[in-house]
Amino acid sequence: MPENHLPAQNARELTFAQAIREALAEEMRRDSTVCILGEDVAEAGTPFKVLSGLLEEFGRDRVFDTPISEAGFTGLAVGAAMAGMRPVVDIMFGDFVTLTMDQMVNQAAKIYYMSGGAWKVPMVMRTTMGATRRSAAQHSQSLHAWFCHIPGLKVVLPSTPYDAKGLLKAAIRDENPVVFFEDKMMYKLKGLVPADDYTVPLGVADVKREGDDITLIATSSMVQVALGAAVLLEEVGISAEVVDPRTMWPLDEKTLIESVKKTSRAIVLDEGYERYGVTAELAAVIATGAFYDLDAPVKRMGAMHVPIPFSPPLEDATVPTEQTVFEAARALCGR
């Protein structure tokens, strides 16, 4: 059974946000080169209050409020990482990564390779994703697929407090630029988190629930949706396995494929746009890897191909829900 299903004895219940904060605090204590840069990260602790208290413990030498200059402070972090720091930059809404693409993609991602391994860029970009917060089209996107497409970057999408803490600590210790996506609707999600130091390695998927009839491969907040759908499916006699890749790159293809080989049916769930996004890659990987075992086409469920609307009934229609996943799974299983 995966490690996080057996939390250590000293585990406490924490929210997702608390788990993130704890990961940062522990790494900042462990390594004085870890620092935080972003807008309203100091006194305000970000608008989501995820970083509250870090300024008090670590002071202004470690937690830096920046101007509203996403490209600028991300670029600064790239150089700082090359020259001996381990910066963690905070991009408030994932929609603003648009402004950082040159720094992340033409610089951070390529420096190790372009320099033939001479310079490395150990930095983390933490940012958010996820809709249904009534924040409209420029504050609701899940743009992680862009980073997944770029060699040189690692991309992490935690789905539980346990994973969030362990993966963030691993990301900070990683020698490469890592982009870490937090679903802003999940900050209050609770879960058991050990007090002892631990990391979750990047590149290892986690079977969040075992099952036999269908595999639901889900990322970030969609893991909870998948788990909810699995309960509904159980009621109609369908046993669903829920697999969380946890990191999009490196991607643990083996675990995904093995699960689908076992169940012979799969739905891929991700909150990014469905088209040309994460669901496409995962579906393609499975369709190839489990080609001879699939009893039905892999079903993809992502965000509808529209800018996220503000109006609540419209916005709610754009993302997969327990109910829509339940129905899709039923249809796929032919029951």
Partner: protein
Amino acid sequence: MTTTVRQETSDKVDLWLRMYRQMVAIRQFETEVNELYTRALMPGLAHLYIGEEAVAVGVCSALERTDYITSTHRGHGHCLAKGASPDRMFAELLGKEAGYCKGKGGSMHIADPATGNLGANAIVGGSAGIATGAAFAAQRLGNGRVSVCFFGEGALGQGVLYEVMNLAQLFKLPVIYVCENNLYNEYTHYSETTAGEIVARPAAFDIESVTIDGQNVRVVNEFAQILVDRARRGAGPAFLLCNTYRYHGHHVGDINREYYRSKQEEQIWKSERDPIVNFGKVLIEQKIADQEALDGIQKEIEAQMKQAVAFAISAPYPDVDEVEEDVYA
């Protein structure tokens, strides 16, 4: 000669009264927005413009209806000052079909071709390119329009602003960059995020730059008029720095603000520099209106806003099928 003077005076009276009404309308609109939030009737959040009314009103009163504006996350005031109607605005804020954007945009994306409103924008600095481009189009098409880009001082952090100011000056575009310095980028004082003097930045691109009291609607309007006329004549872009203050939090949910600004600071701005109160005093002093008239305006607008809110509340949501409409033209 006498006629002209009288004409000017009555023009001025009209303008002043109109500006006063508009400022009251914005404040009352925003008061209702806050109320809607408190009563949990509004989805999401909103950024109130209360305290800054003189900027939007002073600037937009210097514009023609066909002139362009772009606005920000704190955009209700700009939209109203440019001529938007409160009922469709409230409807938009509630995500209703009758809203300016059929409910798809919400508080941060009100747009309206009929009043030249290119749209509010939730990306800080995100409309700088758009406003500059509209000025480019106006120049190319020779239609004499001017474009105004409203933004908070936080947008000075965004590099694209410098890119487009350079372009605007090179192409001599009819665009006015109106910077609303309300002292805060969300929860951080602008002095922590802004090196040097603000107006030195546009000035470095040879852009005409003026700093004014953004709490005095007459001053705002006078300087805006000068810069708009100048732009319309083909003399190129300008930068108008308006010093102002927001009375409420960064957004409606930002209630406990003492960790980033003092109650005392808020109190001083409210009691000494309120744009509506102070302008009301001028109107009375100059015998353009008496207290009763001002109270009448207040009442009338309150009633109008209540009605607009009621319209929005009872308006229907868009049909769910609407979600896939308007993705492509």
